[in-house]
Symmetry: C2
């Protein structure tokens, strides 16, 4: 009788998932989907409790069950998740979708104190941990691949040039960076474009690493790393840049962020914000919000306009490079998988699985179009100090690739 | 006594305008501003009635007074308007600004019947009239100037290539165009990119011209010009393109436009909308709305998202080329001034002045940043048929310039 119920429930789940090409099996002999040979992956749920929990809050408990080891996943995890996301999105609003929406993360408190806590939880996991799977320059944002065959490290360097070219950096410009990670973009801009940078970040671990790098590279007279919130940015600058911070700001604070930028940008200044985004407003994945990125929210373009519109900024250029983020994450995941032994030694098995799921899930989200990656270039509304065309972003590709600004002058 | 009042009023106006570098004089000897020699322009108001009317509804009656000849303008009209726009915008919300806002145009009825009437009023003024001051291909939208020194006709051809490259047109694609003007873009795409086009327009005069051109160029088997509203677009297409129509759609109809696009675009299709826009929502200039463009409204990016967001389109690329429109309009005005005799013969003196003011005012609006020009590339949210980078838009500049798709194959 109860086995019949389990089987019925599994069938309902499989249908709600849009009959994906992977196998789902339960304890005992119950299973659904294509045969082992034909399935792209295999989900095995070990006990009824896990199945029921997943039925109540699919997004949260699927992730928790996998990381705790209450269910196992074999085969291609990324493809499994891609099929799952596509399947749920394309079937009409069914019970699974409704449950996911019900339990999605609520908007978070990203006050100065709230942000500090949230950022600490993720970015202060230890530089040694991130070093295991990021590129050599420790860039933890979407890379820019000239071609899909490019390597990660090259693509990260190209991303920094891409950003610098969009901002038309010139020697002597003073740049302010909001959310500078481990400092590579700030150092890159100073080294290759002859600018000075004040770079803000509230992650203590990242700031320490960044300052060390500035000294090592002899750039500590050009780049100042400031351990402080973006809301405390001071001074007037030629350029405002922020790569991968907006996701942690929260829509409620966009208006204030816009005011900060309006205050700190000169009348003929230029700005760029690089952020994960969405096509439609969707609350954060419940599991990601609880276990990986507390306080995060990727906005739609419409939502992001709350930064620009009230302060009369002109949006000059928006580029969506979401497929580049799928590829970046794929390269991170590959490196991560090579170093899971070390991750386990630093944390535990559960952590290893949680971060695997987060990386694979992010790849799938970008590749199916559930997440976007926007680079938005803007300038004060009355400034005519804007580039005539965007050709300079592309024509200078080879010229600036290895050259520093000193060679150019 | 009354002369004192006139003088006091003139001073108040001059202050509210931000003390611009042009001279304003009234009947009698009253005047304000720099001397004749130093002034960039001279506004002369002939009678008290005109002055008072302008004080009540500045935007509407300034335009009406100038076109009727109740005030004269000498000197650089574009610079005069640039200083006026900048002056009003930078002074704190004063009485002049408040009056302008009070009288700004209300949202218009752009139903199928309403649109037909509005479009007829502007675009059916006669092809001979537009031929006097547009380029040889009759493009009545912002051109794309590879450099500011490029000529109008070249820049209009480049605009069409720019649009086609952004859409990655390939031979055999079937394209639907909403609001095709005199048909040049449709014919250009068919000729140079080997696509077939169904092009919609509700301006009868434009459609007649477009059909004639299709026959003359031997492209009537490739391009079909349909005299109908965009809301009646039928079929499934690889590409949706609309250049200079969105301004006439009205924000209230954006949702419906998005539904039309969603219905007519294939799952892996691409789209582009080219439109005048704003940084902040502002109602239409009262005079322009009444005398030049009934029913027009340039939206902000946030407002335009109402087309894309509800239908889960991915915005792939947004480019703002407002300075190109200032230059396009400058070239139109130059040609217009050379042909005012013919314009007067077609219409009258009042019409000549009204259209001069409209062209000069538009130049000023784009050059001071009161108006923007957005090109938005989008695709269905689940489609991965998007370009890897935007390099192809720039690298193919020379290759496609004169070549037709037949040479490429």
């Amino acid at each position: 009788m109860i086995a019949k119920f389990d089987s019925w429930l599994l069938k309902k789940i499989y249908q709600a998932l849009g009959k994906p090409p992977y196998l789902i099996s339960l304890w005992g002999d119950i299973q659904i989907g294509p045969s082992h040979a034909k399935a792209i992956a295999h989900v095995h749920i070990k006990q009824r409790r896990t199945l029921l929990r997943i039925c109540i809050n699919p997004e949260l408990y699927f992730g928790e069950a996998y990381s705790k080891g209450d269910l196992t996943l074999t085969g291609d995890l990324v493809k499994l998740l891609e099929h799952t996301y596509r399947g749920i999105a394309s079937s009409k609003r069914n019970w699974l979708q409704k449950l996911i929406v019900t339990w999605q993360a609520r908007p978070c408190n990203n006050s100065i104190t709230g942000s500090k806590k949230h950022i600490h939880q993720h970015y202060d996991l230890g530089n040694d941990f991130y070093r295991l799977w990021l590129d050599d320059k420790m860039l933890y944002t979407c890379a820019y691949y000239p071609t899909p065959e490019s390597e990660l490290s090259h693509a990260q360097t190209e991303k920094m040039h891409h950003v610098a070219r969009k901002l038309q950096l010139k020697p002597g410009d003073n740049v302010v960076e909001a959310g500078c990670g481990w400092g590579s973009l700030a150092l890159h801009m100073a080294k290759h474009y002859g600018v000075t940078v004040k770079a803000y970040n509230i992650s203590h671990q990242q700031i320490l690493h960044a300052r060390e790098q500035a000294k090592l590279q002899g750039l500590d007279d050009k780049v100042e790393f400031i351990e402080d919130d973006y809301r405390n940015i001071k001074g007037q600058h030629d350029v405002f840049v922020s790569v991968g911070m907006l996701e942690h700001v929260g829509v409620n604070n966009f208006r204030e962020l816009g005011d900060v930028i309006a205050r700190c940008l000169k009348p003929d200044g230029r700005g760029l914000i690089h952020s994960i985004g969405r096509n439609q407003p969707v609350r954060m994945n419940a599991w990601i919000e609880r276990h990986i990125f507390p306080g995060a929210y990727p906005p739609t373009i419409r939502e992001a306009m709350e930064i620009f519109e009230p302060n009369n900024f002109s949006v000059i250029d928006v580029e969506n490079i979401r497929l580049h983020y799928a590829l970046t994450l794929l390269h991170w995941l590959e490196k991560y998988e090579q170093n899971t032994d070390q991750v386990e030694a630093m944390f535990d098995e559960q952590f290893v699985r949680a971060w695997r799921l987060y990386l694979a899930g992010s790849i799938a989200s970008f590749s199916v179009g559930a997440l976007q990656l926007f680079q938005i270039v803007f300038s004060p509304g009355r400034s005519n100090n804007i580039s005539w065309t965007r050709e300079h972003i592309y024509s200078s590709l080879e010229k600036t690739d290895e050259a520093s600004w000193k060679n150019v002058m």
